[in-house]
């Protein structure tokens, strides 16, 4: 039983992790909290759904299109919210308010375009296969979720650590002013960062819809808050921390459902956040001091 919950927690956590990594990436590189990330997550799920439903393409294609569309939405938020605000030297919370406003527009638009009822991915998408390992029922879907999460995050890690562009990104993360001075293409880094984080959010959206068999215009709201929780857990701007934090949150939530029942599941994460903010504000996994908040 415990092992079963462990597997469930991991796959839930994998989705949280993918979402949170995108979230924390933007913070780490560009020092902003993009609160439209939840709405992008939702749109990714819908785009994937439409690709399968209307175009009758397989899941892999749907995922690819969703990643692309969500990435573009990420770039949109850079273009109409964060870039003008940064140019103006506006205070930090303006970015938060602005991205929330954008989220509202996106949610309203999704309701308008896709309707307000909860829908689900077509049956063909759901990988019904399940495997019994050591008395634990591991759904094919859960394995896929975990695998996709790992692949996406590792790919991102490789990009950051091993490529030239990754080095440029890390320079900008260190200091945008310095990056400009050394002639780094800051504008391109900004766009790329927002694209990647948007894509990750969209990918997480597709995974979530598959795991939980539901898509609705409001699915992003709770996940956004969960994403913030993971950010705190793992340390703002810490990609590895977001991965670990996401998995941890998934496990904690599933564990809490077992312990105190489903009603308080969402509160557990927030309680954890408050606790951490009060004792170790830099996050459980962060070693360096949070220099920016």
């Amino acid at each position: 039983m415990l092992l079963q919950q462990f597997v469930n927690g991991l796959s839930l956590g994998a989705v949280y992790a993918v979402f949170a990594v995108g979230f924390t990436l933007v913070f780490g590189v560009l020092n902003v909290l993009n609160l439209s990330q939840g709405a992008v997550f939702m749109w990714g799920a819908y785009v994937g759904l439409e690709v399968m439903r209307t175009l009758h393409l397989p899941l892999a294609a749907a995922m690819a299109v969703a990643l692309l569309a969500a990435g573009l939405l990420g770039v949109l938020s850079e273009w109409i919210v964060f870039r003008p605000l940064q140019r103006r030297g506006a205070h930090r919370w303006m970015g938060m308010v602005g991205s929330l406003a954008l989220a509202r527009i996106l949610i309203g638009a999704a309701q308008e375009v896709f309707g307000t009822q909860v829908v689900r991915y077509p049956d063909g998408a759901v990988i019904g296969a399940a495997v019994d390992l050591w008395g634990v029922r591991v759904q094919g879907l859960q394995v896929v979720a975990l695998a996709v999460a790992l692949v996406l995050v590792l790919a991102l890690g490789a990009l950051l650590r091993l490529t030239n562009f990754g080095r440029v990104i890390r320079t900008v993360a260190f200091s945008e002013t310095v990056a400009r001075l050394v002639g780094a293409p800051v504008g391109r880094v900004r766009v790329a960062t927002f694209f990647v984080s948007g894509a990750l959010a969209g990918g997480a959206g597709v995974l979530w819809s598959l795991l939980f068999q539901s898509v609705s215009p409001f699915m992003g709201e709770t996940v956004l808050l969960k994403g913030l929780t993971v950010l705190i857990l793992g340390g703002l701007g810490n990609v590895a921390g977001a991965l670990a934090g996401g998995l941890l949150l998934g496990l904690v939530e599933v564990g809490s459902v077992v312990a105190v029942g489903a009603g308080y599941r969402d509160a557990v994460g927030f309680g954890l956040v408050l606790l951490i903010l009060l004792t170790r504000p830099t996050g459980l996994f962060s070693s360096r001091e949070a220099k920016r908040a």
Partner: protein, 284 residues
């Protein structure tokens, strides 16, 4: 005809209430504090007051007082914990608070009625009460902003260290402002609950907190009355667009975004410029 009148009365009441909450947020924005705890604090005031009037037979006045007290105590307690956190962390902690309250009210069925909410709340809130409260709050904010304390707040928004070096306990100032905003939020929650005869946990969540903060940002470019103007805009828009809930959301989002982008703030942060507008003749 009578229905039309009552419909308008409700809108006016909502405008007044939202304006009151907007001023509570304005106080905090004046020292660069973005608090999303308004929803949670409102919920506490709302549910306590309902419990008192409906289950304990209290009259409205004392119930309102109790709600105000609970709001201040909760804010004082929360503030002691989270005010020392920096910018983003503070906002997130207040958001976590609102969410925790929401989930607690969702689950505490016996007192709060759970997800279904509470029906049949007596409509005790009247327009004159809201108007009087708004006038009081406006006066208080005006009196404070136009005094040495107001100068101190403006200074804190600009440079906390300078204020500390001048011999003032900035943390205590923030705690006082936060407690005051908690009192207003608690009272506002109680008034809101007895206005629409029905409450549910979802009424006091993330969106409620955001709307309270958006109002001063929206209307704020003019002066002290900006918070009220912003609240009026945010309240009236949904009424004007009755025909589509979806487009209502899109429009609110768009208007807010435009306000954020195009308010002429320059390098200075908005609340400072907004509240600086209390001095006539100063360039916006």
């Amino acid at each position: 005809m009578i229905d039309l009148y009552y419909a308008y009365e409700n809108v006016i009441d909502l405008c007044l209430l939202n304006a009151v909450l907007a001023f509570a947020c304005l106080l905090l924005l004046g020292v660069n504090l973005l608090s999303l705890a308004t929803g949670g604090l409102m919920a506490l005031g709302a549910y306590l007051s309902i419990w008192l009037t409906m289950q304990k037979g209290w009259s409205f006045g004392p119930a309102l007082l109790a709600a105000t007290l609970l709001g201040s105590l909760a804010a004082a307690g929360l503030g002691a914990l989270v005010l020392r956190l920096r910018g983003d962390y503070f906002a997130m902690a207040t958001l976590a608070f609102t969410e925790v309250v929401r989930i607690l009210t969702l689950n505490w069925d016996s007192v709060t009625g759970g997800a279904l909410g509470v029906f049949g709340i007596p409509k005790l809130t009247e327009t004159w009460q809201l108007a009087a409260l708004l006038l009081l709050v406006v006066y208080l904010v005006w009196a404070i902003r136009n005094s040495a304390i107001g100068d101190r707040m403006r200074a804190v928004a600009e440079d906390e260290l300078a204020v500390t070096a001048s011999g003032h306990d900035v943390a205590r100032l923030k705690r006082a402002l936060f407690t005051a905003s908690g009192a207003i939020a608690g009272l506002g929650g109680a008034l809101a609950a007895h206005l629409n005869m029905f409450v549910a946990p979802g009424d006091f969540g993330f969106l409620r907190s955001m709307d309270a903060v958006l109002a001063p940002v929206l209307g704020g470019v003019w002066n002290l009355f900006g918070a009220a103007i912003g609240a009026a805009i945010l309240t009236l828009l949904p009424e004007l667009l009755r025909f589509s809930a979806q487009w209502r959301e899109i429009l609110i989002g768009a208007v807010t975004l435009l306000a954020v982008l195009f308010l002429p703030t320059g390098v200075a942060s908005l609340p400072r410029r907004l509240l600086r507008g209390a001095h006539p003749g100063r360039i916006a």
